[in-house]
């Protein structure tokens, strides 16, 4: 809400209703096209793609069934709480009987729109979110009654102010140092505040019973999520893009239903493991992606290149807050008391995070450990370090990550890009050359 100093004035300049409507409908149409195209491309790459994937295709449509469903539930009295980042405690949102939806923006056209008012130095994820707001493009952002916005980087910090012109913003400050004695207690206090704010927005008390049941719901989701990631450790039974799509839809789907559908997918994939029915040849180079989040649908650019390239690659793991990190870590509760449960939620969101916003003497150790574990467990052949311009924290962590990977003898390639389709040709050369390098073990 605007302050007294500038009462009534908004960060985003006013646009005419007509202009907003025209831009919104053209970007929306383009986005629907991209969603369709991406789905078709995934189907083409994986000819025997299981039917169980179709559910996720449907949910992946930002302008489809799921939007309608949330709208209906909202009309029936439910609250929607959006969140911009994985530090937001989904368990608390669910415990207040609200619908959690992630609102991070992957729209390239919206980033272009954001350029009108954002400085070029700002990362495109933020520019795109602002652009989407300019024309009310994002259904989930628009449907949100409030938005939890963890202030993990400078872009997000200022995003809070911009979005506060339209929605109640509930900021959260994660401590930048994870392992100091006071870090967890500071964060738990932050959690207490956010709990109260969620209760205010939803007019619902988060009590022991509700929190317990929402933790259980999320634990089941985590179990299904992990089951899927474990299936990626062996020969490729699922393409990386498809796994990434399943992972991402968990951020806006009904989580109970998502869990069922993911379990069903895993059942099918396990059958295929027994039949040795692979999604691509088992000797396909195994790639891991790490860095800036890759948001559906436009930021499928690099995953598309990897899995459609000649030679082909398959993404068997990632270290992305838009991917394998989403639900990987369960909330570990010892005793189902209110304070124990609450502390467990708080701890999970701080300690399990490998976000580059953290710093320590030895760098972001948790992130490096995550990478090393996944590289070994998922038998990764090479790592693509993905950074969009302006994403300073990920860009700066590269040097240290590279040193560690060099020591492991694992090829890593720094792929920097923008929210644009113009560089696809050059990106293709980079990705293909990297995969050729990985493939070179097949001696030619």
């Amino acid at each position: 809400m605007a302050s007294d100093i500038e009462a009534g004035s908004k960060y985003i300049p006013e646009m005419s209703k007509k202009e907003i409507e025209e831009l919104r409908s053209s970007i929306r149409a383009a986005s629907i096209k991209v969603i369709k195209e991406n789905t078709e491309r995934m189907k083409k790459t994986w000819p025997n793609r299981p039917e169980t994937m179709e559910y996720f295709d449907e949910i992946s449509n930002f302008f489809g069934q799921r939007e309608k469903e949330i709208r209906e539930q909202k009309e029936a009295g439910k609250k929607v709480i959006g969140y911009s980042c994985m530090f937001a405690p989904v368990e608390l949102i669910l415990a207040a009987d609200a619908i959690p939806v992630r609102i991070g923006s992957g729209w390239y056209d919206a980033a272009k729109l954001g350029d009108r008012i954002m400085p070029v130095e700002v990362c495109p994820v933020i520019r795109s979110t602002v652009g989407a707001k300019m024309v009310n493009l994002s259904p989930y952002l628009e449907l949100s009654d409030a938005i939890i916005n963890p202030l993990t980087c400078d872009g997000r910090t200022k995003l809070s102010e911009i979005l506060s012109d339209y929605k109640p913003i509930l900021p959260m400050c994660p401590p930048r140092v994870k392992d100091d004695p006071q870090s967890l207690s500071l964060w738990t206090e932050e959690m207490q505040v956010i709990k109260k704010k969620i209760e205010e927005v939803t007019e619902r008390k988060i009590n022991r019973k509700r929190l317990r049941s929402s933790i259980k719901v999320m634990q089941r989701a985590t179990k299904a999520f992990r089951r899927l990631q474990d299936l990626r450790k062996g020969p490729p039974v699922i393409m990386g893009r498809d796994a990434m799509l399943v992972n991402q839809t968990s951020m806006w789907d009904d989580i109970g239903r998502w869990t069922e559908k993911t379990e069903a997918l895993c059942d099918e994939l396990e059958r295929r493991v027994n039949e040795k029915k692979w999604a691509c040849p088992p000797d396909t180079p195994r790639v891991m992606v790490t860095g800036t989040p890759m948001m559906w649908p436009d930021s499928w650019k690099v995953p598309n290149l990897i899995e459609e390239s000649t030679p082909q690659g398959v993404m068997v793991a990632d270290e992305l807050c838009s991917g394998d990190r989403i639900l990987y870590d369960p909330v570990g509760v010892d005793e189902w008391t209110m304070s124990d449960m609450f502390n467990a939620v708080s701890e999970r969101y701080l300690m399990a995070s490998t976000c580059p916003c953290f710093t320590s003497e030895h760098g972001n150790e948790d992130r490096i450990n995550w990478l090393m574990d996944r590289i070994k467990e998922n038998k990764v052949d090479g790592v693509i370090y993905y950074v969009v311009r302006g994403c300073i924290l990920y860009a700066m962590e590269y040097a240290r990550v590279k040193r560690v990977l060099d020591r492991m003898g694992l090829p890593v390639y720094y792929l920097d890009t923008e929210y644009t389709r113009e560089d696809v040709g050059q990106m293709k050369t980079r990705v293909e050359a990297f995969l050729e390098m990985l493939e070179a073990r097949i001696d030619i």
Binding site: T310, G425, T429, A433, M437, I444
Partner: protein, 303 residues
């Protein structure tokens, strides 16, 4: 001596020489495996025909507006007068920016892998670092003794320091492109480099320097120095290990070569005589592609 055909430019300063040759004393009819590599770059299209893994003929041409036509023309010119027909080829590999638009190719491989392989063919197994300066990309490539890529870096999507940038500056200063390197080295003292590494801005800056009364050679030196610094940064980032070589069109630009050598404190391996060996570093990518074609053909035979 090779039989060398040249097509002269039409007087525009940026226009560089197109050429082709057939290696004497070799007959493709005696060969078991005939392969070709077609490298369609953004500025130049190169074709190399190999008979049993040895260069038989080759051509270097400008790329037209259509990649597929350029590929056909380049290969067609390399085939001209040889009696070779397309169905004589066992395998063809396309590479370069237009690699997916090489209609006769059996497979596409990136120019990064091909330049490393080509450099290994030209200079032998001691090559560890390849700087490929093409029409619109600069690539620093590290490779092993077999010419396999170990790591690489590529410039941003921008023409600074590339062949296209040189064409622009040659045109601006009205100096024939082939003389750009020589002229830039004729200055008594190396000037400060231009501050912009963007071709468009550098061009503006060059115009400003000319207005200030700078001589053409001094402006050229300032431009080439800026580009050489940029290339050297890329090499240093990937890590420069001996032996070091330069491929791509700019391997012919001594103004760039000397400056890069000075900045790195390392000499490149000398370029073999084109007339005697037919080994043109500008066509290294096409050579690598033709070699990959041979390997791929042999692999397909084993299956």
């Amino acid at each position: 001596m090779t039989l060398m055909d040249k097509k002269e430019g039409k007087g525009e300063y940026w226009r560089w020489l197109e050429y082709r040759s057939i290696m004497p004393g070799r007959d493709w009819r005696n060969a078991e495996v005939i392969t070709a590599g077609v490298d369609v770059g953004s500025v130049g299209s190169k074709a190399v025909i190999m008979a049993d893994g040895e260069i038989y003929s080759w051509s270097v041409m400008r790329t037209g507006s259509n990649s597929s036509d350029s590929a056909k023309k380049a290969l067609g010119w390399a085939m001209e007068g040889t009696g070779l027909k397309l169905n004589n080829f066992n395998y063809i590999v396309g590479t370069g920016y237009g690699r997916v638009n090489v209609p006769m190719a059996n497979r596409a491989i990136t120019e990064i892998a091909c330049h490393a392989k080509g450099a290994n063919y030209i200079w032998g197994p001691t090559v560890r670092t390849v700087l490929d300066v093409g029409g619109q990309d600069v690539k620093a490539i590290r490779c092993d003794e077999r010419g396999k890529v170990v790591s690489f870096l590529m410039n941003d999507k921008c023409a600074a320091g590339t062949g296209r940038g040189m064409e622009v500056i040659a045109d601006l200063l009205q100096i024939p492109i082939a003389d750009v390197g020589k002229v830039s080295l004729s200055v008594n003292e190396e000037p400060e480099p231009v501050s912009s590494t963007c071709v468009v801005f550098a061009k503006t800056e060059a115009v400003g320097l000319l207005r200030k009364g700078w001589s053409k050679d001094k402006v050229l030196a300032a431009y080439l120095r800026a580009m050489a610094i940029r290339m050297s940064e890329l090499i240093e980032k990937v890590g420069c290990e001996r032996d070091f070589v330069i491929t791509g069109g700019q391997s012919k630009n001594i103004g760039i070569v000397h400056r890069v050598e000075n900045i790195l404190g390392m000499k490149r391996l000398p370029v073999p005589s084109l007339e005697e060996t037919g080994l043109d570093p500008m066509a290294a990518g096409a050579m690598g592609a033709a070699l990959f074609a041979k390997a791929l053909h042999e692999r397909s035979m084993k299956r």
